[in-house]
């Protein structure tokens, strides 16, 4: 790969931008450079704290998409899986309000994972067993989750308590970075660890190689004896569970309650982050931080009283950037080759 080719990879661009933001934050907050207002607005600690909080559900959703799409199942239903997970976490939390808080929250997390996984299973069943177009199936997941969570939502129910920050000793004392990275509630840590975990699993294990084979060339995978559809089922379920966890984060860690339609398009930004990150976990993390940063920026601009940039234009950025990325104007992303295609073993009678 030539040096020019490196710049044609949006995931790397995203990663570099994310790193650049972090470096700027450290510089601005530790040196005297932070006196001009705009620098503090753009790179203050609070902006980065907000960024991380906004990025967690995005990165979980993006990982969900990566797992599904790397095995060849398109997942535009992330939004629905996330919403289902959020609702499940809320219901479980409310049902166990009398329990000790950690146990009750844990049940919430388990419920989010489980129901998200079930939505993944439904998506897999529809797209593999019943050969439904995977985009339609994703749409079904979204409508179903919206409908069910609204139909079953008891507006008087209140969840009591949510996850609080766990300070990691020593590491949290590192100036600036320590505060931002090592003083967080558990699902945030989990999300960051999952990025590393999925990356290693996808690129350094046999499971990962097989998963990618199913997404790139199912016929070849089948020829060497990999059960393509079993891999697709399993990965879509795990993917659904991760998106569900993203929803669980919203209820159990960020907000503490459930609101109708509370994912508010985060699933679709996740989809954008997955694409912009070129279907790579670290690329998706970079993109999620970048997109989370645009959300933080809206907030910071508002707090600083900056009125010249309409906030709607700032919140458009993730979507514009994604269109640019899929169009290949800056860098080119490449999806798994066999995505969206139903795979049937040769000789199967339809």
């Amino acid at each position: 790969m030539t040096s020019k080719a490196i710049w044609r990879r949006t995931s790397i661009i995203g990663g570099i931008l994310a790193v650049a933001i972090v470096i700027m934050v450290i510089v601005v907050n530790t040196t005297g450079l932070g006196s001009p207002l705009w620098l503090r607005v753009l790179f203050g600690v609070s902006a980065l704290n907000f960024t991380l909080r906004a990025a967690v559900p995005l990165v979980l959703g993006a990982l969900s998409g990566i797992l599904c799409e790397r095995t060849g199942i398109i997942n535009i239903g992330i939004e629905g899986m996330m919403l289902a997970g959020a609702f499940a976490a809320f219901v479980a939390k409310v049902a166990t309000n009398d329990w000790p808080l950690p146990a009750s929250l844990l049940i919430g997390v388990v419920a989010a994972l489980l129901v998200g996984g079930l939505m993944g299973l439904l998506h897999a069943l529809l797209s593999i067993r019943f050969r439904v177009n995977q985009i339609i199936s994703g749409t079904v997941i979204i409508i179903l989750a919206t409908g069910f969570s609204a139909y079953l939502f008891d507006r008087d129910a209140m969840a009591v308590g949510r996850f609080s920050a766990i300070r990691i000793p020593i590491l949290a004392d590192i100036p600036v970075v320590g505060n931002i990275l090592f003083d967080n509630p558990p699902i945030t840590y989990m999300a960051l660890l999952l990025v590393v975990f999925v990356h290693v699993a996808l690129f350094y294990t046999r499971w990962g190689l097989r998963t990618r084979a199913c997404g790139e060339h199912p016929r070849a995978a089948d020829t060497v004896g990999i059960p393509v559809n079993r891999y697709r089922y399993v990965n879509t379920c795990i993917g659904g569970a991760l998106a569900g966890l993203g929803g669980g984060f919203l209820v159990l860690e960020a907000v503490g309650q459930f609101q109708e339609g509370m994912t508010a398009g985060r699933g679709f930004i996740s989809l954008a982050a997955m694409i912009f990150g070129n279907w790579n976990p670290f690329g998706a993390l970079g993109a999620s931080i970048l997109f989370g940063y645009t959300q933080a920026l809206q907030n910071e601009l508002l707090l600083a009283g900056v009125t010249t940039i309409p906030r709607q234009f700032v919140s458009m950025l993730p979507y514009v950037v994604t269109i640019i990325a899929v169009s290949g104007f800056v860098g080119r992303v490449r999806p798994p080759a066999a995505e969206g295609q139903v795979y049937e073993t040769e000789g199967t009678v339809r």
Partner: protein
């Protein structure tokens, strides 16, 4: 001749009808599980949708934009394209028609109204053309691009009517200063409003006639013109179309542009005929519903009209259902999702009702656009 037509109709409508029936049954089962009374709920639902007078007029009112967004999705399907962007195109059409409708005071209605309608169509067309052009020139998948454009559109229209913030942010260009802190446009001038066909309290406007005429036009375009034949060929087999010398790229762009125009028109008549203004809470949700309408209608314009009527009825009856029986109106969405599953997976319905697979099942919806690269 007539017998064969009836037979054909029966065969085409079999799966959609069974899909709706099955979805309603499953809806009833879900209500039973969660302690609601399905019989009372459905009595309220159908009463609120089909009784003569206010109910049926509400159904017709709800049906009108659904016909057009359904046609939008269906037309794109014919070209093998998946238009998830109908809600963004709907919003862009809305805002373009409002921009014309609230300005140009003094124009006579016979100029102002067509001008506003055309502006709305153009707004939708531009939003539809972008994914078409990007697909052809760069290979960007239309599903990703249209999803992103939906959110760009939502933010954009949100900005145009933005009232400004408490800290003195600049208000949007279409915001009505007399609305105070409320983000909304001024009322569309009387000369740009679509007149009532049947006035209040029934509130049915001429837009419904327009939608039906457009459905007829789309049918004629798809099945009776060379252009329509080419669009369908591109959708069924792009390679064959190219081999036959058709300009595939142009047809793809054209199909997406027209699809965008149809969704834009949906937003336009909803605004000029009914709401008479735009506020951010008028979402493009009917654009999303267009997917269900198109698939339930088997992507045929006549089918689209029928399924728009049915889904419009569900929307219309939901309020009365909730009022009469206390069942949350959101059950309608679950039923819609079920309908979508069953029309998209006819296998389920066939095995459920022990039906045989038809011999010539060419235009099966499952052959639609495949991967992101496809």
């Amino acid at each position: 001749m007539t017998a064969s037509f009836v037979q054909r109709m029966a065969r085409v409508m079999l799966i959609p009808v069974l899909a709706v029936v099955t979805a309603l049954v499953i809806g009833a089962i879900i209500m039973l599980i969660f302690g609601d009374d399905p019989i009372q709920a459905y009595r309220g639902l159908f009463g609120g949708a089909f009784e003569w007078g206010r109910p049926i007029s509400t159904t017709i009112r709800k049906m009108t934009p659904l016909i057009l967004t359904g046609l939008s999705v269906a037309l794109a399907f014919k070209a093998g394209l998946f238009n998830i962007g109908a809600s963004g195109q709907f919003l862009m059409g809305t805002i373009a028609s409002v921009a014309v409708g609230t300005n140009f005071a003094g124009l006579p209605a016979f100029i102002h109204l067509p001008f506003a309608i055309l502006a709305g169509i153009a707004g939708g067309m531009i939003w539809g053309a972008i994914p078409g052009i990007l697909k052809v020139t760069t290979g960007a998948h239309e599903v990703i691009v249209t999803i992103m454009l939906n959110y760009i559109a939502a933010n954009f229209v949100g900005w145009t009517v933005y009232a400004g913030g408490s800290q003195g942010q600049t208000p949007g260009p279409l915001w009505d200063p007399t609305a105070g802190a409320v983000s909304e446009t001024a009322d569309v001038l009387a000369s740009a409003q679509i007149p009532w066909l049947i006035g209040p309290p029934y509130r049915i406007h001429y837009g419904v006639i327009l939608a039906l005429v457009v459905a007829l036009l789309v049918w004629w375009l798809i099945y009776k013109t060379v252009l329509g034949f080419e669009i369908r060929t591109v959708g069924l087999n792009m390679k064959a179309a190219r081999y036959a010398g058709m300009r595939v790229s142009q047809r793809i762009i054209l199909a997406m542009t027209l699809a965008g125009g149809l969704a834009g028109l949906a937003g336009t008549i909803e605004t000029l005929g009914l709401n008479h203004k735009f506020a951010p809470e008028f979402s493009g949700a009917v654009g999303f519903e267009g997917i269900t309408v198109a698939l339930l209608g088997q992507t045929h314009p006549l089918g689209v009209v029928l399924s728009a009527f049915l889904l419009g009825a569900l929307d219309a009856g939901a309020t009365r259902m909730q009022f009469d029986s206390g069942v949350a109106a959101d059950i309608i969405q679950i039923i819609q999702a079920m309908v979508l599953i069953f029309v998209a997976a006819p296998i389920i319905i066939r095995s459920l009702f022990r039906l045989r697979k038809p011999a010539n099942d060419v235009e099966s919806t499952t052959t639609l656009s495949t991967g992101w690269t496809g």
